[in-house]
Symmetry: C2
Subunit: 172 residues, 2 copies
C-alpha cells in the first residue's frame, strides 16, 4: 500500500502547501507515528505531479528559492479516496524483528537477560512519555497518536511480564 502517498495527498487535500511545509508538519506532528524522510517526500511529490494527482504553482518571496505550492487535482482526489478505503479495510502483518532476540533469551543468564530487558523497557517508557505529553491534534489525526500510545502501553506491560518471568526462573 502506498501509505506515504496517501499521507501527502491527505494533507494537501486539507490545505495546499509546499514541500518543506509538508515535511515540517509531518516531522513535528507525526514524528512518533511515521518516518517520511525529506528526499523521499520531494521524490513522491515529483512523482505524483507527473502522474497528475497533484499540481503546483510557483511563488517566490524576496530572493529565496522558488516555492512550489502543491494542491490536489480531481484525479488526485479519486486516488486519495481509493487509497483511503483500501488502507482502512486491509491489514498487513506486523513483524517484531526485535523478538528474534527473545527467541534466544534462554542462552543468557536470567539476571543479565533481565537487566538488558530493563534497558529495553526504559526506552519504551521514554517513548511513551514523549507521545503522551505531545500536544493534541485536530480530528482523527489524534487517533494515530492514540494508537501509538496503546501500542507502547502494551509493549511496556509485556516487557515487564518478561522481566518478572525471568525473576521467577532466576530466584528459584
Amino acid at each position: 500500500m502506498e501509505y506515504r502517498e496517501l499521507l501527502l495527498l491527505g494533507l494537501l487535500r486539507r490545505q495546499s502547501m509546499h514541500g518543506y511545509q509538508l515535511i515540517d508538519f509531518i516531522e513535528n506532528n507525526l514524528g512518533q507515528c511515521t518516518d517520511l524522510k525529506k528526499p523521499t517526500a520531494y521524490f513522491l511529490l515529483d512523482k505524483m505531479a507527473a502522474a497528475g494527482w497533484i499540481r503546483f504553482e510557483t511563488s517566490r518571496e524576496g530572493r529565496r528559492p522558488v516555492k512550489r505550492i502543491y494542491s490536489l487535482t480531481p484525479e488526485g482526489e479519486i486516488v486519495f479516496q481509493r487509497l483511503l478505503r483500501d488502507g482502512l479495510a486491509s491489514s498487513e502483518p506486523t513483524f517484531f524483528w526485535e523478538d528474534v532476540s527473545l527467541a534466544f533469551l534462554e542462552v543468557l543468564d536470567p539476571r543479565e537477560a533481565a537487566s538488558l530487558l530493563e534497558m529495553h523497557r526504559d526506552l519504551i517508557g521514554s517513548r511513551l512519555e514523549k507521545v503522551r505529553t505531545a500536544p493534541d491534534h485536530p480530528g482523527t489525526i489524534q487517533w494515530m497518536v492514540e494508537h501509538q500510545v496503546r501500542f507502547l502501553e502494551m509493549e511496556l506491560a509485556w516487557t515487564d511480564e518478561l522481566i518478572r518471568r525471568l525473576g521467577d526462573t532466576g530466584g528459584a
Copy 2:
C-alpha cells in the same frame, strides 16, 4: 540491527542445518512472526560464510543437488552473543503506516468507515486465531509467538473501539 542474521545464527547454534531446512523451519514455525524469504536466506548464508561466522560441509544423497550443512564457527558465536545482547537492550520505533488511513477517517461517512473497519477487524481476527491455534514451540521461541498474540489482541480491541466510536458519531 541484523535480526535476520541473528535468527539464522541462533538456529544454526542449536543445530547444524542446510539452507532449505532453515527456511523450511522459519516458514512453518515462525511464519507468523517473521518473513525471511528464500533468496535472502541463501544470500545471508553466503555472506556469513564469507565473513567466517559460519562454515559448511557438503553432503549428497543419491544424485540430488549437493547440500551445504552449515554450522557456527567460534567467531560466529561471538557475533551471535553480541547481536543477542544488542537486540535485547535496544528498541526501535514501530510505525503503523496503516494508521494514515485512520488520520483521514473523518472524510468518510461514519457508516462506511465502520464497515471498512469491520473488514480490517476480521482480518486481524483470523490472524489471531491462526497464531493461537499453532502448535507450541520449545523454550523462549514460544515468547515470540506470545508477543504476537498480545499484539493482535490489542489491535482487535483497538479496532473494536474505533468502530464503537464511529457508531456513537453516526447514531447521534
